[in-house]
Amino acid sequence: MTIDIESKVPIIDARGIRYRELNAMIRDCVSGGSRQIELRNVCGQRYIGTSLNKPVEINITGIPGNDLGAFMDGPRITVRGNAQDGCGNTMNEGEIIIHGHAGDIVGLSARGGKIFVRDDVGYRAGIHMKQYQDKRPVLVVGGTAQDFPGEYMAGGILILLGLNLGEAESHRANFVGTGMHGGVIYLRGHIDDFRLGKEIGMAELNDSDYRVLETYIGEFAGYFGYNTGDILNHKFTRLSPLWLRPYGRIYTY
């Protein structure tokens, strides 16, 4: 018995189940009216939450596979463990909360929703996130990132907190915001100039920036048991594109 339908909150034991079957079980629970689902012993199953467009709470124990919440439209996924690559890929709406690390391309092309990662993320975090009207994806990373965070970013908010860096340590991601032409990156702590992509510039934060940070860092702190004030009481840098059209002047007609 891998699924306990009787309980109000269905519990699915994902041990030894292929992703296709697991996701079908999740879909069945959701279409059966469940608004909260517990997944236990998850081990590498892909696409969890992918086909869901209802405000469902999915709590995962274990390590979900790639493309967690890809194309997702509404659910809130909490992972007690690390996430792998492609988490929140092309996500439209919803929330992903990871009590651990996340792999490469977190939030690739997301157009909405929020992703909170307690620890570090891999390469190209927040790549090509975009915003439109009221849709503005948010990615908050408690630790630091590998190279190319915010690459090609066209919108949205990427916050790198560096909470696990020592006093004298700086962020070591290279090519930050390469090709960025929209949105904003907030970085807590120090980063050397030469690590930034040539399309972005550094600036001091203004009041509205701090209001944005208070909101999302507040949510982050709430999820992972930090104190918002402690996190905010530190130097932040705002990184944003210098031009809206970084590649507008390389062609001849």
Binding site: R46, R124, H128, K130, Y132, R245, G248, Y251, Y253
Partner: protein
């Protein structure tokens, strides 16, 4: 800086015919014709002319003639005028040359070196005017074998999703933003009427076209523009775009000027911002990664829709295609050297990729050798000009073809290669609302469905001539082809015999 480039075209106005009505002034979007208010006369600035013939076609008294500027450089096969002018342009601007449409260079067109067979004496040809002829094509993964329930005579094998086409000709991916909304609507309606599919390209699907979803292929490309749940749900087929024949290996930049309010709504990006499509899809660095996206899309649509993968024809297409099929693609699309674009660097368009005929033959051969040809349908595109090319493509192994340029020509395109300027005088490759109205979707849909009807009749005529009554009999049947003027290597790759043998 004074330009050293001489006008490409000469515009001649017959003073006896010109009635100073200014139609040419209003029709030209490149500022060639102007009304001189002081002298009360229409004058032409031929240095701006791109040779699109809009004025010539619409002049009510046929007073205009556009011809090539007779200015001749000293004869030189190496330093032809095109290369001289390109250098001048770059010396004056310092940029990459941008262009539109497909490769216009003199690479061999293998369709013109292939001929089809017909029945004579030893088997009868069929008259398609009187006998049924079938062009129906099903796209999608076919099982290795089928089982039939002997009692009910029904199919026991569970089939992967199939898409039925009445004609094996679909409208190629051209994004809204590159082409106008009325072009999209014309294609969507023509596809619905003709029982085939049209492709949104990577710019999203306008909300008013969702009702044609059953005839729509939606694209998921590296920019992921306009991709959300509703978009994927609306479609009949989902296509992952890896590459494009006109610009293999590079991404796309839709300039901010083309991102109008409506385009912004469909692409789901703010108005006036550049829409940048990265060169790779950053979640696809390998065949395994491709499989991951294919199955992500299958999960989203609960395995009810075929997933297609489109690549540009390049040196290793056959091996790549094998990987694509094994990654779970239900349809693979190969876009050849002559595939067109709304904008690409000229050097890429003119020099990268291989002819689609060679790619098609080698992909089909490879998939057959590996015993996986049934697992995916093959669609080819890039330079299909008429039903003869369609028939030859099918005989070489394609299940269906995409037409892009041919469809645009049906709507008025004169292949003037100015798509990248956004100023298309025919209202095709533009997002300017005033110009967009030059394509009336009622008429556009009719012109396109007429074209498909004409080609279908011709296909049936050719099939009948070969003594076959179904396109299925021609598919991958290279014995119906012969080569003319080809080397042994070319014949070998194409898998056809020399004419006469």
């Amino acid at each position: 800086m004074k330009t050293y480039i001489s006008p490409r075209f000469r515009v001649e106005r017959d003073p006896d015919r010109c009635i100073q009505c200014q139609v040419c002034v209003n029709q030209c979007t490149f500022d060639t014709h102007r009304y001189d208010i002081e002298n009360d006369e229409v004058v032409s600035h031929e240095e701006n002319c791109v040779g699109c013939h809009r004025c010539v076609v619409f002049c009510p008294t046929r007073a205009l003639t556009v011809s090539r500027n007779p200015l001749e450089y000293r004869q030189n096969y190496n330093w032809r005028s095109e290369y001289i002018e390109d250098i001048l342009k770059q010396a004056e601007s310092g940029g990459m040359l941008l262009t539109g449409m497909g490769n216009d260079k003199g690479y061999p067109i293998y369709w013109d070196h292939l001929v089809l067979n017909a029945s004579q004496v030893t088997n009868p040809s069929i008259d398609p005017l009187r006998e049924p002829m079938e062009l129906i094509t099903y796209l999608g993964r076919k099982p290795d074998r089928i089982e039939i329930d002997s009692d009910s005579l029904s199919l026991k094998t569970k089939m992967a999703p199939q898409v039925k086409l009445e004609v094996p000709i679909m409208f190629a991916a051209m994004s809204y933003g590159a082409v106008s909304i009325n072009v999209h609507e014309s294609m969507a309606r023509a596809a619905a009427v003709s029982g085939t599919l049209w492709n949104t390209g990577e710019g999203g699907l306008h909300s008013k076209l969702y009702k044609y979803g059953n005839n729509t292929i939606v694209q998921v490309a590296s920019g992921r523009f306009g991709v959300n749940r509703e978009y994927l749900d609306a479609a009949r087929v989902i296509e992952i775009k890896i590459g494009q024949g006109a610009k293999p290996g590079i991404g796309g930049h839709l300039p901010g000027e083309k991102v109008s309010a409506e385009v912004s709504l469909t692409r789901m990006i703010p108005e006036g911002t550049d829409a940048l499509s990265p060169a790779p899809q950053h979640d696809i660095y390998s065949i395994e990664d491709l499989a991951q996206l294919i199955y992500a899309l299958k999960e989203v649509t609960q395995y009810a829709k075929p997933v297609s993968v489109k690549i540009a024809a390049v040196h290793n297409s056959a091996a790549i295609a094998s990987g694509m099929v094994r990654a779970g693609a239900d349809i693979i699309v190969i876009d050849g050297l002559r595939g067109a674009t709304g904008a690409a660097p000229k050097v890429i368009r003119d020099n990268i990729g291989i002819p689609v005929e060679m790619a098609l033959a080698s992909v089909d051969t490879r998939l057959r050798q590996e015993g996986i040809r049934n697992q995916a349908s093959i669609v080819v595109s890039g330079g299909i000009r008429n039903s003869g090319d369609v028939a030859k493509a099918i005989a070489l192994g394609a299940d269906a073809v995409y037409i892009g340029t041919a469809a645009l020509i049906a709507l008025g395109c004169r292949v003037c290669q100015q798509c990248h300027t956004g100023k298309c005088a025919w209202g095709i490759c533009t997002t300017d609302l005033a110009l967009t109205r030059r394509v009336n979707p009622d008429i556009g849909a009719r012109r396109l469905s007429n074209l498909l009807r004409g080609w279908s009749l011709e296909l049936k005529e050719m099939l009948g001539g070969m003594g076959t009554n179904a396109l299925e009999s021609l598919r991958g049947n290279r014995l119906h082809l012969r080569g003319v003027g080809l080397t042994d290597t070319e014949l070998d790759i194409l898998g056809v015999k020399m004419a006469g043998s």
